[in-house]
């Protein structure tokens, strides 16, 4: 294949991938009657962006959804790192009785998809009266065996001299974890952070289980609510809502494209 042909093929396929984005934005700018005419022009004759986006903001608490998404993703990531970084360090660099056992448990945990413990967790949270709280959204995801595994692999490659020097300086093991190891593990931490945020920002399964109502709804749940309760055939407003909820991660991706791709590629093994 000549390189010109290749470029044409790639462009055609790329355009196909972008199709839903293009039409989503186009519909979010069109008045309802133009959408219903089903014409194939992308640019609206009369712009109705203000009306469409206005309807979204008037009918559902969009800002709440986004803030909830940030709180949930941030909370999950914080605890995941809090648990996984020290454990990863201990498994990689310390010799202690039971280490192999702990590592075995981590490997076993890697085999279990998050959908499996969902039912008992739901029953437990329900019994505690925690449904519809940030706690219910955050707590079940705070332990990531995958993060422990990832950090253990990464820390193993860090030179022992780094740790010995810190010990000679009189640092405690905990101080070593946060002040020596983590700063040296930023590539792994960034990769994991991207993986984690993408996974939880986009997750629908768990929020759908533990949240009812708008107050604690995440962006994914927000779109679902808007579609079923408000939009009906109002595709202009629906597409506007979709664009708003998709934008934060997509923009972050466009800014830090390389990091995103590397982050997902190195952590892809999780699935």
């Amino acid at each position: 294949m000549g390189s010109a042909v290749r470029l044409v093929v790639l462009s055609a396929l790329g355009l196909f991938i972008l199709m839903p984005y293009i039409w989503m934005v186009s519909a979010s700018l069109k008045p309802t009657d133009e959408i219903f005419r089903a014409s194939l022009t992308l640019i609206p004759e009369t712009f109705a962006a203000a009306e469409n986006f206005g309807r979204v903001f008037a009918r559902v608490p969009v800002v709440d959804y986004l803030v909830n998404g940030v709180i949930v993703c941030g909370g999950i990531l914080f605890f995941q790192l809090l648990f996984a970084v020290p454990a990863g360090y201990a498994l990689a660099k310390l010799r202690f009785a039971g280490r192999e056992f702990v590592f075995g448990a981590v490997m076993l945990g890697l085999l279990v998809p998050p959908h499996v413990p969902a039912l008992p967790l739901y029953a437990g949270l329900s019994a505690l009266g925690w449904l519809n709280t940030f706690g219910a959204l955050i707590v079940p995801s705070t332990i990531s065996v995958f993060a422990i595994f990832l950090f253990r692999q990464f820390f193993k490659s860090l030179p022992d001299e780094l740790i010995h020097a810190a010990r000679i300086d009189g640092m405690s093991e905990l101080a070593i974890v946060w002040r020596v190891i983590l700063p040296n593990a930023l590539p792994a931490a960034t990769a994991f952070a991207i993986f984690s945020v993408v996974a939880h920002w986009n997750d629908l399964f768990w929020p759908l289980i533990v949240v009812t109502g708008h107050e604690r709804a995440t962006p994914a749940l927000g779109v679902l609510y808007f579609r079923t309760e408000e939009a009906g055939d109002d595709f202009g407003a629906l597409m506007a809502a979709c664009a708003i909820m998709t934008a934060p991660l997509v923009l972050a991706f466009l800014v830090a494209q390389r990091r995103f791709v590397e982050g997902i590629a190195t952590t892809g093994l999780k699935g």
Binding site: A105, V116, V145, N202, F253
Partner: protein, 291 residues
């Protein structure tokens, strides 16, 4: 130092170990146990009913449909997204320019809110006002009803699934491709592998084996987990034509609150996922021995 090291090791793993126990191990064991009970939310204690849930599943038309739909969905999405991902990776690798640009374009669905993109596809595929059918009408073709027809709904969902997964697989294949030294392909060219196809067949494909195995497994597992698009767009309908495993598990457990039966479906799901992982290690071992 040794004793201090042991203590430090335990203390540093303790928070993770407790969270692991409370949030992963115990709930997983509980889910497996619940599968053999008639537990319904609010009715404590549940009765031990042995394999009754599984017997019910076996005769439950709803579950059978759901299982069959999941198999069909996986059978479409996994091969297409693997081949598509490989094709895109090869195309982009050999492209003279615009690599980063195209990689970003094809990767975009991976970072996009699935629920929102599903809604966008619903608009695109809308039988009357959707641009896809509008385009077909231009050519005088009456388009299908896509997501609202019981014959086409599963294929439409699978199509969205491929659209979403192909960029992910592409990135994994690209990582695999960069690990193959360029010299090998050049050496093959010198040795008489003249066409690009020959070089792919003789050098790239065999060396890409481990990557391919990995991508195949992960694609299978990810497509068995299909949930979001079904929950947003079809809710298993019309007429159960798009009922899939996790969605059935969800409705049984969280709509009808039959947690025991739902746990049994979860167990089936877990066994499938574990089976796929086992298959991967088996194939990998064989490759090492005979490869």
């Amino acid at each position: 130092m040794r004793r201090g090291e042991t203590l430090a090791g335990w203390l540093l793993t303790l928070p993770a170990a407790l969270a692991f126990l409370a949030l992963l191990l115990l709930p997983t064991v509980a889910a497996v146990t619940l599968a053999f009970t008639d537990y319904e939310l609010g009715e404590w204690p549940p009765n031990w009913i042995g394999t009754e849930n599984f017997q019910e599943m076996w005769t439950d038309r709803g579950f059978r449909t759901s299982f069959r739909n999941t198999v069909v969905y996986v059978a479409i999405v996994a091969p297409l997204s693997v081949l598509g991902g490989l094709g895109l990776a090869l195309l982009i690798e050999s492209a003279a320019r615009g690599r980063a640009f195209f990689r970003a374009v094809f990767f975009l669905p991976v970072v996009s809110l699935t629920v929102a993109m599903a809604a966008a596809w619903q608009y695109l595929l809308h039988p009357t006002i959707g641009p896809v059918n509008a385009l077909l009408r231009v050519f005088g073709i009456a388009g299908p009803t896509w997501l609202s027809g019981s014959d086409t709904v599963l294929i439409s969902l699978a199509f969205i699934g491929v659209w979403e997964a192909v960029g992910f697989n592409m990135v994994l294949f690209m990582a695999g491709l960069t690990a193959i030294p360029k010299e090998l392909r050049e050496a093959a060219a010198v040795d008489g592998a003249r066409t690009a196809w020959d070089r792919f067949r003789l050098v790239t494909w065999p060396l890409l084996g481990p990557t391919t195995l990995f991508v195949v497994t992960i694609s299978l597992i990810r497509s068995v987990r299909v949930f979001d698009t079904v929950a947003v767009l079809t809710r298993g309908g019309p007429n159960k034509a798009s009922e899939v495993l996790l969605y059935t598990m969800y409705t049984e457990g969280f709509t009808y609150l039959r947690l025991g039966y739902s746990a049994a479906i979860t167990l089936v799901f877990l066994v499938i996922v574990l089976g796929l992982m086992l298959l991967q290690t088996r194939v990998m071992d064989r490759r090492v021995h005979y490869g």
